[in-house]
């Protein structure tokens, strides 16, 4: 009798496991769901300068938003089949897990534990960032190791404080952290001298500096105390969808490398380069392998531009954020951006 009960229990357990295992399988076809819906649901930051913000007409602009549009172009041949779902840091992964969004493009750092414990997969890195420290030039500090007893202004982030601790503790440097909830307060506290040091990702610091009345008054110290590679995220176990997101990003990077821009992409259709021909769908059938139209990459570039154009219009030196390319430069120009070949 007890054996019977335990057998039933085992069967029940197995059935439950099977049901659990089956649920990712039914999520297999994100592409089908997306096509049926007619829209990509893309998780973005509610408002973050340069990455995802509203222009005066309430249209979402920014680097992360443009990545969403590129995916829409790849799938639908039109950049506007995106529905932006604003998500805060604390709910972004759950939103992806529960199927509320198809892809998360939201300044999300790729880390080991996130990749391996959340049931998610990361696409290629779209932006190499890292936590930095900025000080008032008057302090005369040249390196982070010269700091001592400094008051450091920071925003409540998941890892910001941890990185500080990891950097300063082994060096035996004491500091005092001052946490701010609000961006403006945080920035003004630093400008008004409440803190000696302000810390955040380097791209963030550059934009803080750009806002200052006299940007030359502040220096970003050379140390990068953490690696923050930002990448789009998708649900695990859907190879096809992950490939679409990954190769959409790769196409942006490769296009810049091959000198294909939004303006000249039509001319490039005549190019004799086999790699360019394959990428733009002139020859071969790369698109079909992704279950997409063969013109997928052409559409991405024609409708949105290449990586360099994304960077320049959202973050680059022509914008008020005024970021330099830094590590986000092509590998051929000394940066880290490298797309695998299209063949």
């Amino acid at each position: 009798m007890t054996r019977m009960i335990s057998k039933i229990a085992t069967l029940g357990f197995l059935a439950a496991v099977a049901a659990l295992a089956a649920s990712p399988a039914s999520a297999q076809a994100t592409l089908d769901t997306v096509k049926k819906r007619g829209k990509v649901l893309c998780g973005v930051s509610p408002s973050s300068a340069g990455y995802s913000f509203a222009d005066d007409k309430g249209v979402r602009k920014g680097f992360d938003s443009d990545v969403c549009r590129a995916i829409s172009s790849a799938v639908f041949g039109a950049p506007d089949k995106v529905e932006f779902v604003p998500l805060n840091t604390n709910i972004r992964f759950q939103a992806l897990q529960s199927g509320e969004i198809d892809v998360l493009s939201r300044q999300t750092t790729l880390t080991f534990s996130r990749d391996n414990s959340l049931g998610l997969d990361f696409g290629p890195v779209v932006f190499y960032d890292g936590q930095g420290l900025m000080v008032n030039a008057k302090l005369g500090v040249k390196s982070a190791s010269e700091l001592s007893q400094a008051a450091i202004c920071l925003l409540p982030g998941t890892t910001t404080l941890q990185n500080l601790e990891d950097f300063f503790k082994p060096r035996g440097i004491k500091y005092e952290s001052v946490v701010f909830e609000d961006n403006n307060e945080w920035r003004n506290a630093f400008f008004s001298g409440r803190c000696d040091v302000i810390t955040s990702d380097r791209s963030d610091l550059a934009s803080v500096r750009a806002v200052a009345n006299d940007p030359k008054q502040f220096v970003i110290l050379p140390e990068t105390i953490s690696k923050e590679p930002l990448a789009p995220v998708v649900r695990q176990n859907d190879s096809n969808w992950k490939d679409i997101v990954s190769w959409s990003v790769n196409a942006l990077i490769a296009a810049e490398e091959y000198g294909i821009t939004q303006a000249n992409v039509d001319e490039k259709l005549q190019s004799k380069e086999p790699e360019i021909q394959r990428m733009l769908g002139v020859s071969g059938d790369l698109g079909k392998m992704l279950n997409l139209d063969n013109k997928w990459a052409y559409n991405i570039i024609k409708q949105n531009g290449n990586y360099g154009e994304f960077f320049e219009r959202n973050l680059g030196e022509s914008t008020r954020l005024g970021l330099t390319r830094g590590p986000n430069q092509l590998w051929t120009k000394g940066g880290l951006l490298y797309s695998p070949p299209f063949r």
Partner: protein
């Protein structure tokens, strides 16, 4: 040193102090200048008011930047009005498509119109019921679209004032009946019903609104079958309704307890059943007593809805904040946005408070201080 504006402000402030050609101090003046201490306090307050007024005037007008772009405002010490002009529509309507803004605008107008009509005693009657059966669906259809050739605008694009109003109004409109039912259940003589009501109320009141919103937006979807998602806005709305219901229940229960026992007994003596007695005798008195605390809850909830920003819904305060993060304006205009938000919230909260005082006077039927015809 004093500018014309400052002199104006001084004269204005002093104007009522000129005695109207009479010897000695008139009665109101005596209150302010009767003793040396009073005179000192009055002068100090006047001085403070003038200082504040001139500072505000300087920031709002004299030193303010009236036109131009972000560059014109940079480094300025006054208000930056071009920022507000450029961002006004975004602040009010959020990410709603620009060319369709007339729809939320019309919905907002309809809604506020219906509220104003319902506030006027001369319109009180059956018509109002029909009005409120008609207006919310019309507003919903206007906002969502999908019929009469209106393009569909999904709720992820809703934001700003319409969203704030919707969350707080629907939350309270549906939370109120829920609250009344819960209050009746909690004061019920049937133990089972009473226990359920107590558990519900205490659990909901025992956790902050933030955690209920989190539960609704984070936990709930994980329990749902694959592929089935309930609209995020709807989830937040239901969370707010439940939360409002629990708070209103306790307030209403206070009112129920304040109704003298004699009223219950009199109703019973007349042969009225439970529901009839409640509907005709007890609840009208109980609800009248709790108008001030209810309005308190209403005002609080109108402002608490801003908490939905933590689950990524852009309510009015958050569209204001989002405007501040536009890289073109970032760090240039900060206070202007918040001043505008404060003004909007203050206007609506004050209106609610003022109306509740009017309602109290109007419904006053106390036996001790009854006005004739009350």
């Amino acid at each position: 040193m004093a500018t014309a504006a400052e002199m104006d402000a001084l004269n204005l402030a002093r104007a009522p102090l000129q005695p109207p050609r009479r010897r000695g101090l008139s009665a109101p003046l005596k209150r302010y200048f009767g003793t040396p201490l009073n005179a000192l306090i009055t002068l100090a307050c006047l001085w403070l008011m003038v200082r504040l007024a001139t500072a505000a005037w300087g920031w709002l007008v004299t030193r303010a930047v009236m036109e131009g772009g972000p560059e014109a405002c940079k480094g300025g010490t006054g208000a930056c009005w071009p920022f507000l002009a450029a961002k006004l529509r975004f602040m009010i309507f959020g990410f709603y498509p620009y060319d369709e803004h007339w729809r939320p605008a019309l919905a907002l107008a309809l809604f506020l119109g219906a509220i104003i009509v319902s506030m006027m005693p001369r319109f009180w009657g059956r018509g109002l019921v029909w009005l409120w059966i008609a207006v919310p669906p019309i507003c919903g259809v206007l906002m969502y679209g999908g019929v009469f050739g209106l393009p569909v605008v999904t709720t992820t694009n809703w934001g700003g004032l319409p969203l704030s109003f919707m969350l707080s109004f629907v939350g309270l409109a549906l939370g109120f009946p829920l609250g009344v039912v819960l209050a009746l259940a909690r004061s019920s003589k049937l133990p089972a019903i009473q226990v359920i009501a107590i558990i519900f109320i205490e659990v909901v009141r025992g956790v902050p609104l933030v955690s209920i919103l989190f539960m609704a937006s984070v936990m709930l979807p994980l329990f749902m079958p694959d592929g089935l998602t309930v609209d995020k806005l709807l989830r937040a709305q239901v969370a707010i309704i439940i939360f409002a219901g629990a708070y209103i229940a306790e307030t209403v229960r206070g009112g129920l307890q304040a109704v003298p026992k004699g009223q219950h007994e009199a109703a019973a003596a007349l042969g009225l059943g439970y529901w009839l007695a409640m509907r005709k005798i007890i609840l009208p008195q109980a609800l009248k007593i709790v108008i001030p605390p209810l309005v308190n809850i209403f005002i609080g909830f109108f402002q608490d809805t801003t908490l939905v920003t933590i689950i990524g819904l852009l309510d009015f305060l958050d569209t204001v904040r989002a405007s501040l993060r536009d890289p073109n304006w970032q760090g240039i205009a900060v206070i202007e946005g918040y001043v505008f938000a404060a003004l909007v919230y203050a206007v609506f909260s004050y209106a609610m408070g003022a109306y509740s005082r009017f309602l109290e006077r109007r419904l006053k039927t106390d036996h001790e201080r009854s006005a004739p015809g009350g």
